[in-house]
């Protein structure tokens, strides 16, 4: 029997889905980690990008943060685990670090692309900076921001598997533990789950993105700019 059919057996075996180390639990954990990472990423990246994009200040931050992506994930994990210990904080910081660049870049370019004529005109008729950002720049940038979030989310889901190098849960456990005991069907099975999860999430977000785009009252504005 080859590894592929063994993988199907592994995925099909109900007992593999049950219990504290079962697929169901790991799948839920993986989504929880990923959603938490995405939330923290957005809270940091979007306000930062709004500031940079709106005022055109501190532009150097974008390439600097982009360059952080080049750091090796595993190396960062080990280094931060030495500082923060074995809890969830070390992998969480690493995952957020690698998810910030796409959201930051997308939000920044979305906001910076709003025509200067528009913002100047708004300023002239008495809009505050905050109102310009909230009423025009953010809505205009919204599709771009969603695109950035989408790309970050897929990356987060895929990269969390690496964190199982440390004692954390999620689908990465099957990969790292499977490798340790040469259980390749378990590893391949878990890879399929991760691939399936990212595709499902990506398609879902694409639908959300397009629905919002179609119904947005700003869609005309976006296409013209």
């Amino acid at each position: 029997m080859n590894v592929f059919s063994q993988t199907l057996l592994w995925l099909g075996d109900a007992s593999n889905w049950e219990g504290t180390g079962g697929i169901s639990v790991r799948l839920v954990q993986h989504m929880q980690y990923s959603l938490a990472t995405l939330a923290i990423t957005c809270v940091i990246a979007i306000p930062l990008a709004c500031y940079i994009g709106h005022f055109g200040r501190a532009l150097f931050v974008i390439p600097v943060i982009n360059a952080l992506r080049a750091l090796p994930t595993l190396g960062m994990l080990s280094a931060l685990a030495l500082i923060f210990g074995l809890g969830i904080s070390a992998p969480m910081i690493v995952m957020v670090m690698f998810a910030i660049p796409p959201v930051l870049a997308a939000t920044y370019s979305g906001i910076a692309n709003v025509s200067q004529t528009t913002t100047h005109a708004m300023r002239a008729i008495g809009f505050s900076e905050w109102q310009i950002l909230w009423n025009v720049e953010l809505p205009t940038a919204f599709p771009a921001i969603l695109g950035g979030i989408r790309s970050a989310f897929t990356q987060i889901i895929a990269t969390w598997t690496v964190a199982a190098f440390l004692p954390v849960g999620g689908l990465g456990r099957f990969l790292i533990d499977g490798l340790a005991i040469r259980d390749y069907s378990q590893m391949l099975g878990a890879s399929f789950l991760v691939i399936g999860l990212s595709i499902a999430v990506d398609v879902l977000m694409l639908i959300v993105q397009n629905t919002i785009e179609r119904h947005s009252r700003y869609s005309q504005l976006t296409t013209q700019s």
């Binding site: 080859n2 590894v3 592929f4 080990s78 685990a81 030495l82 210990g85 074995l86 199982a164 190098f165 440390l166 004692p167 456990r173 790292i176 533990d177 490798l179 340790a180 005991i181 040469r182 390749y184 391949l188 890879s191 399929f192 691939i195 595709i199 990506d202 398609v203 694409l206 639908i207 397009n210 179609r214």
Partner: protein, 305 residues
């Protein structure tokens, strides 16, 4: 069709194609398509992807070369699966190994415990094309360690002493969960209940840190790791021989075996001690010396070159 619809279908199709490609791929990830036979007069020595294995491989190469046997080095091949496959297809002729793990690899049901039993069982379990030379006194086995203060505070010097302790956490590689010397063995042989905190750094810095700051009470560290001494750790005694002996042993392909090769390498084997391995690992980890320089130094110390 809207552009969204096209994108959606495109995405799904790409996904299906991707899964299909993976599915139709090679049925065995270990199949090695490269089967370059090495030159018959040269003996090619491989090593696993960690420093100690590379040092041992360098020792064998240099010892053979000093006796006029042409030896080549192929270091850093990878994990056991990969270099055993390389040995099978003839791209290497010899690789440094460890008795217990090698026995478990070829016969996972073996119940041998003592070093001599493991050695004789291993000889029986080997595939017909493979042979092993003499086992060294030197041993790189798993060992369970606690900090000195923990040992004194809880009067723990032997694994059995842990049976009275609740909520014990142990840092070890993920395979510790199922191995006979792991969580199951602790329970069955010593009546010790422990929770595994899986860390994949081979008993490295993260493991030591977790042990020292009390996140875990016990850690699985190789006996030849210099960090046991550096951090004053107490290695727990294993009176029931739960942990398999892991003597250093050269695994050789029979086609490359000759009386001369055997006698040269067995002389190396007869001199090597666990203390030597610990010192050499220290030179590699702390002093960042190259494997070949460390090997040369050792051979000179024992006047083998």
């Amino acid at each position: 069709m809207s552009s969204f619809g096209r994108k959606l279908i495109g995405g799904v199709l790409a996904g299906v194609v991707m899964m299909g490609t993976v599915g139709c791929g090679s049925s065995n990830p270990l199949d090695s398509s490269s089967s370059q036979e090495s030159d018959a007069s040269t003996i090619t020595i491989g090593s696993a992807n960690f420093a100690e294995s590379e040092i041992l491989a360098n020792m064998y190469v240099q010892a053979l070369a000093s006796h006029g046997i042409h030896a080549a080095l192929k270091p850093d091949i990878g994990a056991r699966d990969v270099y055993i496959a390389a040995l099978k297809d003839g791209s290497i002729d010899l690789v440094p190994e460890y008795t217990g793990n090698l026995l478990q690899y070829f016969d996972k049901d073996s119940t041998a415990h003592s070093a001599s039993d493991v050695y004789s069982e291993l000889k029986k379990a080997l595939p017909s094309k493979f042979a092993v030379l003499d086992q060294a006194k030197a041993e790189d086995s798993d060992s369970l360690n606690v900090t000195k203060s923990y040992s004194e505070q809880h009067h723990v010097t032997s694994i059995g002493d842990l049976s009275k302790i609740n909520g014990l956490k142990i840092a070890a590689a993920p395979e510790f969960a199922t191995r006979p010397y792991g969580i199951t063995g602790l329970k069955q042989q010593y009546g010790v209940d422990a929770t595994l905190i899986p860390i994949n750094d081979g008993g490295g810095a993260t493991t030591i840190k977790a042990l020292l700051n009390g996140t875990v009470q016990m850690a699985n560290i190789n006996t030849t790791s210099p960090s046991i001494k550096t951090n004053n750790l107490v290695t727990l005694k294993d009176p029931l021989q739960m942990i398999l002996p892991q003597r250093v042993i050269p695994l050789i392909s029979k086609s490359a075996e000759s009386d001369k090769v055997t006698s040269v390498l067995n002389e190396v084997q007869s001199k090597l001690t666990t203390q030597d391995l610990m010192t050499m690992n220290g030179e590699s980890i702390n002093d960042k010396e190259s494997a070949s320089a460390i090997a040369k130094h050792w051979l000179q110390t024992y006047k083998l070159v």
